[in-house]
């Protein structure tokens, strides 16, 4: 199972500009699996991104909307992208500023589907 997860993450990290990808438990914000995360504090990223997605989920719920299916946090030097997956997981990618966000989103979604 863990090998499958890592395999699906590798498809994400093959996209040019992706620095790393991980599967995170959405509720606890813990790293379940990761790929190519050298130099990145995965545990902290997992906790913070899970927090961002959870807070956005509470905001969309308060707005009478459904939970986010894709979250894109853009910064000056890169981005964090997240897609919820079954079993209360999140697939997260850390990218450079120059990246094809649409392609990463597709790969994240495919990775999330493979976690079903």
């Amino acid at each position: 199972m863990r090998a499958d997860i890592v395999g699906s993450l590798e498809a994400v990290t093959r996209v040019r500009g992706v620095r790393g990808a991980m599967v995170v438990s959405a509720e606890e914000g813990l790293v379940v699996a990761e790929s190519s995360m050298e130099g990145i504090d995965g545990a902290a990223v997992a906790a913070l991104m899970a927090g961002v997605v959870a807070r956005l989920g509470r905001a969309t719920e308060a707005a009478g909307r459904t939970a986010p299916a894709f979250v894109h946090l853009q910064a000056e030097g890169g981005a964090l992208l997240a897609v919820p997956a079954p079993r209360d997981l999140l697939v997260v990618a850390v990218t450079d500023a120059e990246v094809n966000v649409g392609l990463v989103r597709l790969e994240l979604r495919q990775a999330a589907e493979q976690l079903a």
């Binding site: 956005l56 308060a62 707005a63 459904t66 979250v71 894109h72 030097g77």
Partner: protein, 282 residues
């Protein structure tokens, strides 16, 4: 139109999706304030009848009722390209120019609306009032509320919308779908309503303050510099969050038919308005 009438029209449309019954159904929903439902019906109808000026006019009125004046203008513009004598489209665009303070353009379109429908007393009154305003010496660039033709009153905010439209005045979704809040999750302006019509701006603002903090910490931790935006897609809406000024947050919420890229452009305009508002003299 009664609930039963609407049910019958809905049933007819379900039985024959190519029927033009989407027009009276969309109009009935609009009049009842069910703008989201009305928009869906008319947009679906337009996929079958993209060159029906009447449908573009109806969609524009739905959008205008919801405060989405930018898209309303586009739809009325399309209606006029399809039928350059369309009274409703001239009236609508005349209204938008009037709101924008461009009285000569407003007059041109209102006169065209009157020419297309000479019996429209309301339009005739509006033409007269705009002419008066134009003739007034050194008047304000935009007419005061008291001079607004009754027919062309600014669309009422949706039920439950916030009562602070001045931050985003003139922008698409100024009263519903644009929210300005401070770093503590307190709403500073704008408004947001849930699909059921309830006002949710304050509750949403409270939850978003944490996003602000987490986003800042995450990007700092990764040495990504300052965060610039957070976009989220849900099954029924797209959201875009940015910080127009230090310790303030701007949220845009739109139907998921509006792509994130367009939200980003709208956010730029809204951010400029927010900065002007935040920097105004107390």
């Amino acid at each position: 139109m009664s609930n039963e009438d609407i049910r019958v029209l809905t049933s007819q449309l379900a039985g024959d999706p190519s029927s033009l019954v989407f027009l009276p159904l969309g109009e009935a929903l609009r009049r009842r304030g069910q703008l989201e439902a009305a928009e869906k019906i008319v947009v679906a109808g337009l996929t079958r009848y993209p060159e029906l000026a009447e449908a573009h006019d109806l969609l524009a009125r739905v959008l205008s009722d919801g405060g989405d004046l930018e898209r309303a203008f586009d739809e009325w513009d399309i209606a006029l390209r399809l039928d350059d004598r369309h009274a409703g489209a001239h009236k609508g665009i005349g209204f938008l120019y009037y709101v924008a303070g461009d009285l000569p353009q407003a007059l041109d379109h209102l006169e065209a609306a009157l020419a297309a429908d000479p019996g429209a007393e309301g339009v005739a009154a509006a033409v007269a009032r705009v002419r008066e305003a134009l003739a007034a010496p050194a008047g304000p660039s935009g007419p005061a509320d008291s001079t607004r033709p009754p027919l062309l009153a600014t669309p009422a905010p949706p039920p439950g919308a916030a009562d602070s439209p001045t931050v985003f005045a003139g922008l698409e979704g100024a009263q519903d779908g644009l929210l300005l809040l401070d770093g503590n999750g307190l709403r500073l302006g704008g408004g947001l309503t849930a699909p059921d019509g309830s006002a949710v701006g304050d509750a949403v603002a409270a939850h978003l303050a944490g996003v602000f903090r987490d986003a800042s910490r995450a990007t700092r931790l990764l040495s990504l510099g300052s965060w610039t935006s957070v976009a989220a897609e849900t099954a029924d809406a797209n959201l875009f969050l940015c910080a127009p000024a230090p310790d303030s947050l701007l949220l845009l919420v739109r139907d998921n038919s509006v792509p994130i890229g367009r939200l980003a452009l709208q956010a730029e305009r809204a951010s400029e308005a927010a900065r002007r508002w935040l920097e105004r003299p107390a």
